[in-house]
Assembly symmetry: C2
Homo-oligomer: 263 residues x 2
């Protein structure tokens, strides 16, 4: 696939709590899987602190570098929610309170409870389009190619699924996994030769240990189904030649189950 055919994205996970270790990010893997399903190449991800300059710089760098930027976090009512302000600065526009966003909040929060803090959730950069939030109404927004979502996983997911259908997508990357109970060091040479013969397919090797036995899953990814099939067949032949048995499955690494002998 040439670069022209690729649609790329970057995910920006915003929040001190992820960098301090308090919160385990639950959004990145979900976004990665959805992008892969859609045919978007998630080319990079960053976790950023609640620091204006850092967020503004990252948005400006990534919105030029990639087709899409997906941000999560920092759009709530408290003082540490600064994503909207940062996006406005990155695009050099003002922030405005959007009437339609206030109306959305009013469908959900009693008018007498709609204080200044909550109304902050109706403020978006001038020129932004609201992103619908079916869970708690407080909207996200899109500013050109930058999609700003909540950090709460259920809300983030519903926002993403709401706009996913409108995203450009490239050729869908197909993936096929073959596992074997041979260590990585045994398959490495043959695998590299297969990779060299098929530069359009990405071949990755991931070690695992299961029930005391060591092996690796060999994952092939590419947009051409025929070439992918060819690569998978070559991988299977190689495994058999090396005395192993190819298994049509991704034997995922169970954390901490890996051992020295793995290599």
């Amino acid at each position: 696939m040439s670069d022209l055919e690729k649609v790329t994205a970057c995910a920006l996970v915003i929040g001190n709590e992820v960098l301090s270790g308090r919160t385990k990010d639950a959004n990145l893997n979900w976004i990665a899987n959805r992008c892969t399903e859609i045919g978007i190449l998630l080319a990079e991800a960053r976790v950023l602190p609640d620091v204006e300059d850092v967020i503004v710089d990252a948005i400006n760098e990534c919105r030029i570098k990639y087709h899409y930027v997906f941000t999560t976090g920092g759009i709530g009512p408290t003082h540490d929610d600064i994503t909207a302000t940062c996006v406005a600065k990155a695009f050099n526009v003002a922030i405005e309170r959007r009437k339609e966003a206030v109306e959305l909040l009013e469908t959900f929060i009693k008018k007498e409870n709609l204080n200044e803090a909550r109304l902050k959730m109706a403020e978006v950069p001038v020129g932004a389009q609201l992103i619908y939030n079916p869970v708690s109404k407080a909207p996200g927004f899109r500013m050109q190619n930058v999609y700003v979502m909540a950090g709460v996983p259920s809300i983030m997911r519903s926002m993403f699924d709401g706009f996913a259908g409108s995203l450009m997508s490239g050729k869908k990357v197909l993936s096929q996994s073959v596992a074997c109970y041979l260590p990585e060091g045994a398959v490495a040479k043959g695998l590299e030769e297969i990779q060299t013969r098929h530069p359009n397919v990405d071949v990755g090797s991931y070690p695992f240990m299961r029930s005391g036995k060591f092996g690796c899953t060999l994952v092939s990814r590419g947009v051409d189904g025929n070439e992918l099939e060819q690569v998978v067949n070559e991988i299977k032949s190689m495994i058999i030649e090396l005395g192993g048995e190819p298994i049509d499955q991704d034997l995922v690494t169970p954390e901490d189950e890996i051992s020295p002998d793995d290599y």
Copy 2:
């Protein structure tokens, strides 16, 4: 804490498998927590693909920007393990096969099985110091302020713990959490006033929903124990004034349990 007193780090998680969604990263949260414990501010994290230019650029940007760079992934025997090559390019030095690293591998892998692919794990940039791997011997390495570790969590952790004692550390950031069953929108105003009075303490607000009740955990972080105590007391007073009850606990957000009323 002034910037001069801060010791900062950046984590670089290297691997296509994390960006494609196949693998859920298990290292970032662990590194974040260890940095916080040690007194190092994890200032940023990035997930990078197995693409040489991207990795080289990120290393060169981050090793200047932060005191430490911690990388995970890409140091195995297969063709997609390119981290050592990338670090060498970033520092503009050659790669060399290190005798002591080969000897380490020999304690673990039968000599007749030590093929070229496995010997690749003994190759590090010229000038690098080996990082001990108590799990599977294949070493990581340190090049100036860049620490290169395995991606397998158990190995990464044992490598990090091996060198952690030698890291500079800043003042340790203390953290105290107070939860309450008040929505974020209710505490936002008072919380911002507290934050404004105490710029040296970072106050964060994290919404949750538990057993059908909505609330938020207010996390205060700072290096001065007395000021932290003061901030926590002010937060508790505010909660009581608003009709809530302060709880000395971090009521973590259970994924997907959040609801509209949260705000």
